[in-house]
Symmetry: C2
Subunit: 333 residues, 2 copies
DNA sequence: ATGAAAGCGCTAACAA
DNA sequence: TTGTTAGCGCTTTCAT
């Protein structure tokens, strides 16, 4: 690379000061006489000098870059989190290295290691399920890590979420109150703690509160996708459920469309409440009632928490729970 | 930072070789006796040595990192491109620094500069509209740049797109052939070259081919959003159009829903063809016919092109045009 | 096949 | 307020 490599040394020479002084003005160190500062700034401008962040990183041991591990940016849920993360990162002068993992254990570990090799100052991790191995890496790492919209059963690192259990309980309750005696629970893999532990327990809580018995036949494990939702019709119909709490919007709209395509009226004959209140829920006809998670904020707060961690500030509480809402739209009575 | 900083020097000492040799085995340089290599690898493993990419970057002047400037990751269109970019980047051992610009000139320039300061090996830029200033930065930069799904009128940098003009012509033609005498053209800002030059001209081409006169009253400039689509009803109804080619899926579904909510049957009384064939088009009822752009591939090919540029390989053609399709679904007869 | 040594461009004591 | 001088951890000639 024969980049017009203007270095701090060139500036120092032209301005007839030392590198240290140039470094000081570049870094806003107050210990510089205004006249000197002015002179240096002029030269910087004239030479079009741009500090080399890599050299700076090596010398200072800080890269002002954080790693973001995400299952899939093209998934609306995670993309919203990512946007929140980047905005706050920018606000605090960080950049993000974004890496897709597909939720795959090997890739997650791989990418975490390359991020650490790149000396990121911190990491934000998103994933449905934290495997033993990734948690091992986390506990081994000296670099601050925060989970966004993801659960670590033993909370060794920071995290930002909503209360999935309570939210699911609320949704289920609403469906029960409106007269449904068989409410289905439709989620992604129950192996994922958010589904198998928090949401499912919230669902059970609601049943218990209403003296209804838990029936495994009403629990449906599915992939998170529109197509999977479409294909759910037969199984759900077979269960005689008349309502469902669904853990994913694509899934929910898929189910909704398969229902209405078969002539079953929503919400008349079947009610649905989904979980992310994404644009999908507004576009569907009828629109879909939903728990509303502050996705952008979850990302933003996670990044904010990470800045504190990177700064070695004291943290009041490293597991943050943000509020949710229940938005009633067209898919509930 | 008191990271357990194991350096190449530690490895060299433990393995009783020189730093240079360690560097060779780490970098897969063949000039190392197998026995030596083995010994070094053992020590690396034992010490859990991980090369510092920042130091490597400073010494080699390559960071294996590329910058990606994107208007908004939480927009499905760009998120798809981003996913394609990252997958190919990973394939070629690059990481991406992702930065949202909101299509804002100042932010774009800002972020481009910090990316260059971070010594990225290349940049992928996405944006609706290349301002003079950003194009100035591009031409000044020695770092390879490729546009993905974006048009630079004077093609100074590489780019990957579809033929928006031809695609829009096809879509318009289809609508005309099916009997519509007033076909609306609904896009984002006409200031953006993709809309104002390519798409609009494709629309005009189709009119001309069919001996129809161009009527400005049928051209609607709008924001790219679902909500904007919903609000389009009055204006569109007023124009007496009976069909529309729309440049954005959210916009299209918004229009569709506002139409059906008002009791206008689609496609019976109004036909729609949109542009990105995203999941939105399948979820809507009726589903929306669409031009199908290979978004993931546009991103992937852009990144592939960038790898060639970074590698100083010869490029056959730096403006790549990928094929599109016209997918007929429920919103056309 | 291996080693010695000079940087890469910057920060951060430490002096002055 | 300013300068001197070590590094930061690695790659890369150039010797050997």
């Amino acid at each position: 690379m024969e980049k017009q490599t203007i270095t701090i040394y060139d500036v120092a020479r032209e301005a007839a000061v030392s590198m240290a002084t140039v470094s000081r003005v570049v870094n806003g160190n107050p210990n510089v006489k205004p006249a000197t500062r002015k002179k240096v700034l002029e030269v910087i401008d004239r030479l079009d000098y741009r500090p080399n962040a890599v050299a700076r990183g090596l010398a200072s041991k800080k890269t002002t870059t954080v790693g973001v591990i995400i299952p899939d940016v093209s998934n609306a849920y995670f993309a919203s989190l990512a946007r929140g993360i980047d905005d706050v990162a920018t606000m605090y002068k960080y950049n993000i290295i974004l890496a897709n993992s597909d939720g795959d254990d090997k890739k997650e570990i791989n990418v975490l290691n390359t991020l650490l090799a790149k000396q990121v100052d911190g990491v934000i991790f998103m994933g449905h399920h934290l495997t033993e191995s990734i948690r091992g890496e986390f506990s081994r790492s000296k670099t601050p890590i925060v989970l966004a919209g993801s659960i670590d059963p033993d909370q060794q690192v920071g995290s930002v979420n909503i209360d999935y259990r309570e939210a699911t309980k609320d949704a289920t309750n609403k469906l029960i109150k409106s007269g449904n005696e068989k409410v289905a629970f439709i989620s992604g893999p129950l192996l994922d703690p958010i589904n198998g532990q928090l949401r499912l327990n919230g669902y059970k809580d609601a049943l218990k509160e209403n003296n209804m018995t838990y029936n495994e036949g009403l629990v449906f494990e599915s992939e998170y996708s529109y197509k999977a939702g479409l294909n759910l019709y037969d199984r759900v119909a077979h269960s005689n459920a008349t309502a469902a709490v669904v853990a994913d919007d694509e899934l929910a709209v898929g189910l909704l469309n398969s229902l209405t395509d078969k002539g079953i009226s929503v919400p008349g004959e079947f009610e649905i409440i989904t979980s992310n209140n994404s644009l999908f829920t507004d576009m569907a006809r009828p629109s879909v009632s939903s728990i509303s998670q502050p996705l952008y904020d979850i990302g933003a707060v996670a990044m904010r928490l990470l800045t504190k961690l990177m700064n070695k500030e004291d943290i009041e509480e490293k597991s943050v729970i943000l509020p949710y809402d229940l938005i009633e739209k067209g898919s509930t009575k």
